[in-house]
């Protein structure tokens, strides 16, 4: 057996490598296709400046998408994500601008608030056994309401320079926001690929009962992903606030949540749990941002973006199912 299999492996090793790559990195393949099309057909797309714009626009959603991917990997979903962004935006804005607290304190408070909301989600989902969809929808609305009440519906603009510097300090051609996004991606890549936590998380996502019986700390893992998601929502909230130089209760919102979920799904995460990678999430976001960029450049109606997004998500799902069958 081994002899004959080996010959085959040698003759078609390039082919096999290609096939395996496509199978494990669907998002990269889709990205390359779309990017190629954009290069060929969209005017002004192929410039270094435009590439930089795409990267800048992708940085914050990458952070968000990684948080969402962690939740999706357990078979859950976090619909409060977008509302959490608005809430933490207001928390940071209020403390730093209105109350004049130090920047680090404002950021710390916002991150803590985001993580606390996540903790609430996690406890309800794991301990009380409320479906994630309902739980996070509920907490999402609560958080949205709270943000509106606390801010009295107002926005807080003209934020202090030293706060804006956290995300906007240039580093070469990049800025700190991009560096933070890269750091987050690298850290979570290592966590998912190399840590016992990441392994247990993946096992839990595929088979909760088997993981429990195998002695995996299932409750801890289950709750932790919501805390991570909340924390990432807060990071997203802070960085978005810095980008628009304005803390607002309706920053993010439901639409943002669904865009992030779309990116995660295009990146190969499954709503049924188990699957999901950081590389996938990053490219999922890049795909969406390239499409958005193309539509902006082409000067067509922005509303077309949403329709195209819908087509892309369906395409990604079909692609996923075809490659699982054929490859």
């Amino acid at each position: 057996m081994s002899v004959s299999t080996k010959t085959i492996n040698r003759t078609s090793s390039v082919n096999q490598f290609f096939r395996r790559f496509v199978k494990n990195n669907g998002a990269i393949v889709i990205f390359v296709i779309i990017f190629g099309f954009a290069l060929l057909f969209v005017k002004n797309f192929a410039s270094a400046q435009n590439m930089l714009i795409i990267i800048k626009q992708s940085a914050v959603p990458v952070i968000a998408c990684i948080g969402m991917t962690m939740v999706l990997m357990t078979g859950g979903i976090d619909l409060s994500f977008g509302y959490n962004i608005g809430f933490t935006s207001i928390v940071a804005g209020l403390l730093i601008k209105t109350m004049g607290a130090p920047v680090w304190l404002g950021i710390l408070a916002a991150l803590t608030a985001g993580a606390a909301i996540g903790l609430g989600n996690g406890i309800l989902v794991d301990k009380v056994n409320v479906p994630a969809f309902i739980t996070t929808l509920g907490t999402g609305y609560i958080v949205l309401g709270a943000a509106q009440i606390v801010s009295k519906g107002n926005t807080i603009n003209k934020l202090p320079k030293n706060f804006l510097a956290v995300g906007q300090t240039p580093v070469g051609v990049f800025n700190t926001t991009i560096l933070i996004a890269i750091a987050v991606a690298v850290i979570f890549y290592i966590i998912l690929q190399r840590s016992t936590y990441g392994r247990a998380l993946s096992a839990f996502g595929y088979n909760k009962r088997a993981s429990f019986v195998s002695g995996v700390a299932t409750s801890k893992i289950h709750i932790s992903v919501y805390v991570i998601s909340g924390f990432m929502a807060a990071m997203t909230g802070i960085l978005l606030t810095i980008r628009v130089n304005c803390a607002q209760p309706d920053l993010g919102g439901g639409d943002y949540t669904f865009q992030i979920i779309t990116a995660a799904i295009i990146g190969g995460a499954s709503l049924f749990g188990g699957k999901g990678t950081i590389v996938g999430s990053v490219f999922g976001v890049l795909i969406i941002k390239v499409i958005e960029n193309c539509i902006n450049l082409a000067g067509v109606q922005y509303f077309l973006f949403q329709a195209v997004l819908g087509i892309v998500i369906l395409f990604a799902i079909v692609f996923e199912s075809i490659k699982n069958k054929k490859l």
Binding site: S4, R194, T196, R199, N207
Partner: protein
């Protein structure tokens, strides 16, 4: 009279030269290798006979039946039904050709009632709405025809496994199938339920229905089989009429050699007590029970399915709650048992259903093997690949797990190899107490013998083993002491010195 006899011998199904190639991890058929899943298989079935298909796990029985059931296509070969060639593109087409497939795993919707299940996808409609009255009436008739007197409005969840199996059979009958494929139908049935099933099979036979019966249990094929076909490594390895049954010859056909002694016993139980359970009630209504397991001892736990054996095991392990009772492990009381704390203490629990809670089917062998003791293998929380592959490779070698590589997904392994992976994950670090729940369910004779040898080896290294088993030979052959359970409590305790007998164990199960 003579004519009828001829009719009975008429061949109604023929499978000729069926070949299925192996495929690589990406699902591409590898046609130019010497290894095939099925190679030139011939199989025929006569009217009104029970044709038993035996062979080790991975011999190709299930694949052959999946081809007949239209679930997967053959790469070569043809199927002839009633003299005409048949090509099945889907399970539906096979069903329409009169082939009823009763899978090893049940395929019923647990949340709806019997009648809805029986007519699922095939509902009786009158004027555009469901004709429930007719459906209940027909269901009741079908149920009666399999000798099962139950209200068709019963929700399936409330039925026992055996009863659900009867529903599956009744459902297949309702499609007017003339050929039945039964894939290990008795795997989860009690003796009593098996008797009911066998009576039904005999009735079906007398009506001219032919049955292809897959089983690992020799006593069954003697009871109901007419002919035996043996597969080995994807090839025909012999036929036998049940009337000319010869045990050694059959085993020889299956494994290619005569087996040595199945049950080895070289271990000697020691005096140190590892586990003591005192007055534990597995549920509020059952009587309290007490058991002990000593170091290096294999304690058997016999009893019928549903007698509370699995519940007891899971209570000790911490995978379920129990109302009252104390568990002492190595002299100290376990306050709040949970799988996590049990794993840390050295208690291992191999569950009954490897697909449900034994393995993560979508992950590879390597990841499954190291999952249980991840924290112990990698104290700094970072997985070192070389260390991990080393651990997995050692288990693959030690337990002779047959696989392409350690990165093969476990859902593509045969049942016996899956079971070895479950064992591997529990013994990749030596446990102190090993609880085995049906350790050899649905696996072939060779793998069984290997698992028995391994259990003996573990016991001689001082591991205390508590083994739940429904198989008498296993219980009697492997145990140093046997507890018999009945209705949630211990009804008998037998020492090896008293001599284990099938009769005494059976008495205990029915007390």
């Amino acid at each position: 009279m003579e004519k009828e006899g001829q009719e009975l011998n008429e061949t109604i199904l023929k499978m000729q030269g069926i070949t299925k190639f192996i495929f690589d991890s990406e699902g591409i058929a590898l046609k130019n290798t010497n290894v095939k899943i099925l190679e030139n298989i011939n199989f025929d079935l006569r009217r009104g006979e029970v044709h038993v298909l035996v062979g080790e796990n991975g011999a190709g029985k299930s694949t052959l039946m999946k081809i007949l059931g239209g679930i997967i296509p053959p790469d070569e070969g043809e199927i002839i039904i009633d003299g005409a060639p048949a090509v099945f593109k889907s399970a539906k087409e096979s069903k329409a050709a009169g082939i009823g497939f009763i899978h090893q795993e049940l395929n019923l919707c647990q949340n709806i009632d019997i009648a809805h299940n029986m007519f699922l996808g095939n509902e009786i409609v009158k004027n555009g709405v469901l004709n429930m009255k007719e459906m209940y009436k027909r269901s009741r008739e079908l149920l009666m025809s399999v000798g099962f007197d139950v209200n068709p409005k019963t929700i399936v969840r409330n039925l026992s496994t055996a009863q659900q199996q009867l529903i599956e059979i009744a459902k297949a009958i309702s499609c007017n199938s003339s050929i039945f494929i039964m894939d290990e139908p008795t795997a989860s049935l009690s003796q009593n339920e098996i008797n009911i099933l066998f009576k039904l099979i005999k009735e079906m036979k007398s009506k001219g229905i032919s049955i292809i019966y897959i089983s690992h249990r020799f006593e069954e094929l003697l009871q109901i089989g007419d002919r035996i076909t043996v597969l080995r490594d994807g090839k025909n390895s012999g036929n036998m009429n049940v009337s000319e049954f010869n045990y050694d010859e059959l085993v020889n056909m299956m494994v290619g050699r005569t087996l040595g002694k199945m049950h080895v016993c070289t271990h000697v139980p020691q005096e140190t007590e590892i586990l003591r359970v005192e007055n534990l009630k597995i549920s509020k209504r059952t009587l309290p029970l007490s058991i002990t397991v000593k170091k290096g001892e294999i304690v058997g736990l016999g009893g019928l399915v549903g007698s509370g054996r699995t519940e007891l095991a899971q209570s000790i392990y911490g995978a379920r709650q129990f109302p009252s009772g104390d568990i002492f492990y190595m002299g100290s009381k376990i306050r709040k048992p949970s799988p996590r704390s049990s794993v840390q203490k050295g208690i291992a629990y191999l569950s009954e259903d490897r697909k449900l809670d034994g393995l993560v089917m979508e992950m590879d062998i390597c990841k499954n093997v190291t999952l249980t003791y991840l924290d112990r293998f990698f104290k700094k929380k970072i997985i070192f690949k070389s260390r991990e592959t080393g651990i997995a490779q050692k288990q693959i070698d030690d337990l002779h797990i047959m696989c392409r590589s350690m990165y093969q997904l476990v859902n593509t392994l045969s049942g016996g190899n899956q079971q070895k992976v479950v064992l591997a994950k529990w013994i990749s670090e030596m446990p102190v107490l090993l609880i085995l729940d049906e350790p050899t369910r649905g696996i072939d004779i060779n793998a069984k013998a290997e698992i028995y040898r391994l259990m003996d080896k573990l016991a001689s290294q001082g591991v205390a083993i508590l083994m739940i088993s429904s198989e008498m030979p296993e219980l009697i052959g492997m145990s140093d002491r046997i507890y018999v359970m009945c209705a949630g409590s211990i009804s008998d305790e037998i020492n090896k010195s008293e001599g284990f007998t099938q009769e005494r164990i059976l008495q205990g199960t029915l007390k």
